[in-house]
């Protein structure tokens, strides 16, 4: 099996703080790999480093290409859909315009995205800044799914959302994972258990565990790695 992402000895410093200290792991093609860890251990920074949004040293391979030093747009064009932690929809643009920006080539799958999120179709002319948090997350996920990207980087899709909406999004991501490789950062362990097959755990800027999602059934390990009770 080839790897969709391969990271070795990744270091990132942000304003003097050594956030990632030699991170190495790989994301096999197909399925969902969850990147876990306490707050502030460098999960988001790892995704941002893969996208070239922060300066890093070390090796990063994405979909078979050595991308260290590439500009972000070139890395993304290899076929990455990205859902950032804070959704980052363009609040001054309409829903339609937000989606239009995400189009690449002629392969935009509007029908599919609108069947997943019918609300985005009816709210096409609404400014994204006036959407609710859940609707903004829909839009952010829709942007990433619009082009059938082979690799999806998804950062905390459940953050700040009601359980019902979280479960709806989990269903969408489950379907997306049927044809894309997903690297998922997520704090909600029930979502992780539902979606992921593999886990990578970070702590203090280093990988402290690589394994299968069943490892999360061990409460002692969960407490030790994530500092939370494992009963979720």
């Amino acid at each position: 099996m080839t790897n969709a992402v391969e990271i070795s000895d990744l270091h990132v410093s942000i304003s003097g703080s050594h956030v990632l200290q030699g991170v190495s792991f790989s994301v096999p093609s197909g399925g969902v790999t969850a990147l876990l860890g306490r707050n502030g251990v460098g999960k988001t920074t790892t995704l941002r480093a893969i996208l070239g949004l922060v300066a890093s040293s070390g090796r990063i391979q994405v979909l078979g290409n050595e991308v260290s030093g590439w500009p972000t747009h070139r890395i993304v064009r290899l076929g990455i859909g990205y859902v950032p932690e804070d959704r980052d929809v363009f609040s001054g643009l309409t829903v339609e315009q937000n989606l239009r920006l995400a189009e690449s080539g002629s392969g935009a799958q509007y029908d599919e995205v609108f069947s997943l999120f019918p609300e985005l179709k009816t709210r096409g002319r609404q400014r994204a800044g006036t959407l609710s948090g859940g609707q903004q997350q829909m839009l952010s996920i829709a942007r990433a799914l619009l082009n059938h990207r082979p690799l999806l980087l998804i950062d905390e899709p459940s953050k700040g959302l009601a359980p019902k909406i979280v479960s709806e999004f989990a269903g969408v991501l489950e379907r997306a994972a049927e044809h894309s490789t997903v690297l998922l950062v997520e704090q909600n362990l029930s979502v992780v258990k539902r979606l992921a097959q593999r886990i990578v755990v970070l702590d203090h800027g280093e990988v402290v565990h690589r394994g299968e999602v069943v490892d999360l059934e061990d409460p002692t390990l969960v407490r030790q790695l994530l500092g939370v009770a494992g009963a979720a």
């Binding site: 747009h73 990455i80 643009l93 920006l101």
Partner: protein, 301 residues
């Protein structure tokens, strides 16, 4: 009453020129955080390009054709100068605001110096058709025709820019980039190309502003420092309107143009203190910033 209406009309015309000068500056700052001090040079270059076209082409073409060609030429030269500046000087300096400011100030000084060397420091006269100098008689008022030209150009550019920003893919990229440049990149879009385009558009507006200012307000005279004096008002307009907002620039330009005309005449005319018009715009700037620190239409940083 008639005087008030004439002042209002010429204030709107002056506002239109300020808007042309400010819109490019505002777009460039809004998307790229570049405070472009070479914008004044682009305006001056536009005016000199217009002068060269109007004086070197055969006069058999006729004054109206020549002045139209001069206006087009000024716009194109402004656009080219700005595009080349972005590609060669600004591009290596993104994320280094101090260096950008220094290099654009340096470029402006060097450019103005070269123009002085090449054309001399005395003002040069652009030949314009008679109808541009004559007034039109409307309802008891004599309104200068050149002012109609400025107002028409201002309105067309405002509508054109708004449509470009609202409807075209590049327009949407630029608006998205003003909000969150990083996310635009993360959608696979080469923001660099949009940056160059914004500079080109800004430069075109500057060139147009330069030649129209010459025709409408400086008695068809071109001089090496004219862009820099116009630039000061353009900056005031951009800050009052809110950095990055085209509509804000339009409203602020109108306000500054009108205020300047009214105070120059009603206060300056009686007291003999001619600079009161300029001073009033700075006072307006201070009042607006006290009340709304981000300007009238400024975005939240």
């Amino acid at each position: 009453m008639n005087i008030f209406l004439v002042l209002t009309f010429s204030g709107v015309a002056l506002g239109a020129i300020y808007f042309l000068a400010a819109s490019g500056l505002s777009l460039i700052y809004g998307l790229m955080d570049v405070l472009n001090f070479a914008h004044g040079l682009f305006m001056t270059l536009g005016a000199y390009a217009g002068y060269e076209i109007a004086t070197r082409l055969p006069s058999s073409l006729g004054a109206p054709t020549l002045v139209i060609l001069a206006i087009i030429g000024a716009t194109v030269v402004g656009a080219l100068a700005a595009g080349v500046t972005e590609l060669i000087l600004i591009r290596p300096l993104y994320g280094k605001p101090i260096s950008q400011i220094l290099i654009t100030i340096g470029l402006d000084l060097a450019g103005v110096g070269l123009l002085m060397g090449g054309f001399g420091s005395t003002a040069l006269q652009i030949p314009v058709p008679l109808w541009l100098i004559e007034p039109t008689h409307i309802g008891g008022l004599y309104l200068p025709n050149a002012s109609f030209l400025a107002i028409g150009a201002g309105v067309l550019v405002l509508i054109g820019l708004e449509m470009f920003l609202a409807l075209t893919r590049y327009g949407i990229i630029i608006r998205a980039g003003v909000e969150n440049r990083e996310m635009v990149r993360a959608l696979g879009i080469d923001v660099g190309r949009a940056f160059t385009l914004v500079f080109v558009i800004g430069g075109a507006m500057a060139g147009l502003a330069g030649i129209l200012y010459t025709i409408v307000f400086s008695g068809d005279l071109v001089s090496p420092n004219q862009g820099d004096s116009l630039l000061i008002f353009a900056f005031i307009v951009v800050v009052i309107g809110g950095l990055g907002s085209i509509r804000g620039s339009a409203v602020a330009a109108l306000a500054v143009g009108l205020l300047q005309q009214y105070t120059s005449f009603y206060i300056g005319g009686h007291s003999g203190w001619a600079q009161i018009g300029d001073l009033s715009t700075v006072l307006l700037l201070a009042v607006v910033l006290e009340w709304r620190p981000r300007g009238l239409f400024g975005r939240v940083a």
